[in-house]
């Protein structure tokens, strides 16, 4: 058993390998056999196969046949060159050549380019390629009866859209006065031009209609240059000029439109972009694609007995070139609905609108931020200026207070020294003399005692008077006892001893002035008189006190040497104490003085202040009330 087992396994492996090998062989045979043989397609070119329309047609047709299809197709191209060689002249040779050339080739389809090629294939080749279906495309030449074609022919043809193109031109140029139809002289050009003329004549209305046909290319360009702007140029087909020069219409467009002094319209989609305004156009690329589809359906048929797909009529496309509209100043608003606008240069807005908006938004935000910062900075600067100003004013106040403080201390010291001197030199001296006299009384005879007694009495009265004067200067107690006016009169008498003539007058001074006001006015007068005596060298000083409704006014006027008020404020305490006293009770001080022209001191105290202050003395009233009518 142990020996037979490997032998059995080996056999099985061989069998498996054989099966795999056979399977692969069969698979590769099957693949080779599944591939269909390529379809043979004969392309008959009636037009120049290098013209832009034919190139687009061929390219799209081939792409359409080969794309997404298992069908393989091989194209054989025959150039009939029917524009130059009219078919009737060389038909037998041409047919014979083609037949000889492709003997043994069983074509699956013949594709014709253009109506002339279709006609040639249908009428001349049919006898030789009887069962080969024909698929026609790029067929736009007029005058062909498609309905007469046999069953094994299919394809698509165009209806020349001259009328619609003209309508489009009219809607864009409603003011146009002239229409020029341009065409060439070839046997392909003539029927197109004729169709255009036939189609446009009934539509032109009152417009002047010119047909430019039998011209040289040069004179055509020359005349296009001189057209008035209110002209519509319709370009039909220009493949040969008067001299016989063959021109590809597609190649012509750019130079025609560049030189023309009026808008040019056309009916080929591939002309749009070369300078024409546009038109209702035949799209040959689209035609190639759709014809290719028909061809594929033809080739894909499983049996030649099956019917061909139905024939089609191509749809025209209304297209304009945005750049040409701009060039001629034609309004896009005049376009009929459904018009396709090509080559529109996107505006800066449409291209960068988002970026512009974002940039603008950022600009606005940044501007806002900058404005905010500027405002903040301005505020800060203002606040700093205010701060500096108030600091400066604070410093000034501080300096002033310090200065006042030191002046006040000095004034206080001066006053103390004066009082001390007066007590010591005046009253002290008197009392010493009094004591001496008293001592003498003890020791002398009777007559002498009498004399000394009288002297002692005199001296004692003198002492009493001195003390009273000193006390009075320290504080005018008489104010309280006899009132402001009487106290000022007393003051006047005292100050008159200095030798200066002082006049005091008063008028309507209220009898019930408050202690604050009376003391203030008294001190102001006292200070002003002292200044006048000390500094003014005046011969006369006039003091006047007047009461009026709402106000108490004081003036002290001298005829002295005057002084510079501004500099005096900063020295001593006199002027400042006057001002401070007045301001404390709501009053005002005004000093007018000029060197050599005397001095005028004026003070004003509002009366309502006086009255309100006066009300603070209820004591007297209370006593009066308790004694009224009792005696």
């Amino acid at each position: 058993m142990k020996l037979r087992l490997p032998r059995l396994a080996f056999g099985r492996a061989l069998l498996a390998i054989a099966i795999i090998f056979v399977g692969f062989a069969q698979f590769s045979i099957a693949r080779t056999e599944d591939l269909p043989s390529p379809k043979r397609v004969l392309m008959l070119y009636g037009h120049d196969p290098n013209s832009p329309g034919a190139v687009a047609f061929t390219k799209e047709l081939r792409a359409s046949v080969l794309a997404d299809s298992p069908t393989r197709a091989v194209f054989y191209n025959e150039l009939l060159d029917l524009e130059r060689f009219p078919i009737d002249e060389r038909q037998p040779e041409l047919v014979k050549d083609i037949v000889e050339k492709y003997r043994g080739y069983n074509f699956d389809a013949i594709v014709t380019d253009g109506t002339m090629a279709l006609k040639f294939a249908n009428e001349r080749l049919r006898a030789h390629f009887q069962s080969v279906p024909i698929v026609y495309g790029l067929s736009f030449e007029p005058g062909f009866d498609y309905s007469a074609l046999p069953d094994n022919v299919t394809g698509r043809h165009h209806l020349l859209p001259f009328a619609a193109t003209f309508e489009l031109a009219r809607s864009l140029q409603p003011e146009a006065e002239r229409v020029v139809i341009v065409g060439g002289t070839s046997n392909q050009d003539a029927p197109l031009l004729a169709t255009a003329v036939k189609d446009l004549t009934p539509l032109a209305g009152g417009m002047q209609l010119d047909v430019w046909q039998d011209w040289t290319f040069a004179s055509l360009l020359q005349n296009l240059r001189m057209l008035p702007p209110r002209t519509i140029v319709v370009l039909t087909s220009f493949s040969r000029d008067r001299t016989g020069q063959v021109i590809n219409s597609g190649d012509l467009i750019a130079s025609v439109t560049r030189l023309a002094s009026a808008p040019v319209y056309g009916i080929a989609r591939n002309w749009v972009g070369d300078g024409i305004v546009g038109g209702v156009t035949m799209d040959f690329g689209d035609d190639g694609m759709r014809t290719g589809r028909l061809l594929r359906q033809v080739l894909d048929r499983t049996s030649s007995e099956l019917p061909l797909p139905p024939r089609e009529v191509a749809r025209s496309v209304q297209v304009v070139d945005w750049r040409a509209l701009e060039r001629w100043g034609l309004s896009e608003d005049q376009l009929p609905p459904g018009t396709e606008v090509l080559f529109r240069t996107p505006t800066v807005w449409s291209r960068y609108g988002g970026y512009i908006l974002a940039a603008l938004a950022m600009l606005v935000v940044q501007s806002g931020l900058i404005a905010g910062l500027l405002v903040q900075r301005a505020r800060r600067t203002r606040a700093e200026v205010d701060l500096r100003r108030s600091q400066a004013s604070l410093n000034t106040s501080y300096e002033r207070i310090r200065d006042l403080g030191s002046r006040m201390l000095q004034a206080q010291e001066n006053e103390r020294s004066r009082i001390a001197r007066e007590l010591h030199d005046g009253i002290g001296q008197e009392i010493a003399l009094l004591a001496t006299h008293l001592d003498l009384v003890r020791t002398n005879d009777r007559e002498e005692v009498k004399r000394l007694n009288a002297e002692i009495q005199t001296r004692a009265r003198e002492i009493a008077r001195n003390i009273r004067d000193l006390s009075h200067r320290l504080h005018p107690a008489t104010l309280r006892l006899i009132g402001l006016a009487a106290a000022l009169e007393t003051l006047r008498l005292e100050m008159s001893h200095s030798g200066i003539a002082i006049a005091f007058t008063h008028d309507n001074v209220p009898t019930t002035l408050s202690a604050d006001v009376t003391l203030c006015i008294f001190r102001v007068v006292q200070e002003a008189l002292q200044n006048a005596i000390k500094y003014s060298r005046a011969s006369e000083v006039t003091v006047h006190l007047a009461g009026s409704p709402g106000r108490l006014s004081l003036s002290v006027v001298d005829d002295g040497v005057g002084f510079d008020v501004d500099t005096k404020w900063t020295k001593g305490l006199g002027l400042i104490s006057m001002r401070e006293r007045l301001e404390a009770i709501g009053g005002l001080l005004e000093i007018r003085s000029n060197p050599g022209r005397g001095t005028r001191v004026e003070a004003r105290v509002p009366l309502d202040v006086i009255q309100s202050v006066d009300e603070t003395r209820p004591e007297v009233k209370a006593i009066r009330a308790s004694t009224a009518g009792s005696l």
Binding site: A464, L481, A486, S630
Partner: protein, 136 residues
């Protein structure tokens, strides 16, 4: 208001001063010819005493606490008192004399001349005659 004493009778005097020594000196000075019916040391008590005692003459200091002598005199006058007023003051100033007269006082004695002038001034006042101390 009718006085209870005639001119032939010794005058009944009220002394008003905030200094006790001055009151004592004044009492001694006028004692030979006058009867001191009462004393006061401030304005309100002086007004009460004047009302209660009805003196013929009031000797009144000017510089009193709370009220001045002028205010006391004006108050007395306003309340209808018939007492003759003699001011006794330290102030030897004409202004004071003028003010005293304005209020209706009949005598003004400077304190430094109390001993020599006061009795005479009170007697004269009782008789309805004015007396003013020399102001020197």
């Amino acid at each position: 208001m009718i006085s209870t004493t005639g001119p032939s009778e010794p005058p009944r005097v009220l002394l008003v001063d905030d200094n006790d020594e001055i009151i004592a000196l004044a009492r001694t000075t006028i004692a030979p010819t006058c009867v001191v019916v009462g004393t006061a040391t401030d304005g309100p008590s002086a007004l009460r005493a004047a009302k209660d005692l009805r003196p013929d003459v009031i000797v009144l200091d000017i510089s009193l606490k709370n009220m001045t002598g002028f205010e006391v005199a004006a108050n007395l006058r306003d309340s209808g008192s018939m007492a003759a007023i003699v001011f006794l003051s330290l102030y030897a100033e004409n202004n004071f004399v003028v003010k005293a007269r304005d209020i209706g006082a009949i005598g003004y004695v400077v304190k430094t001349r109390l001993v020599s002038d006061l009795m005479h001034a009170v007697t004269e006042a009782h008789m309805g005659r004015e007396f003013i101390s020399p102001l020197c």
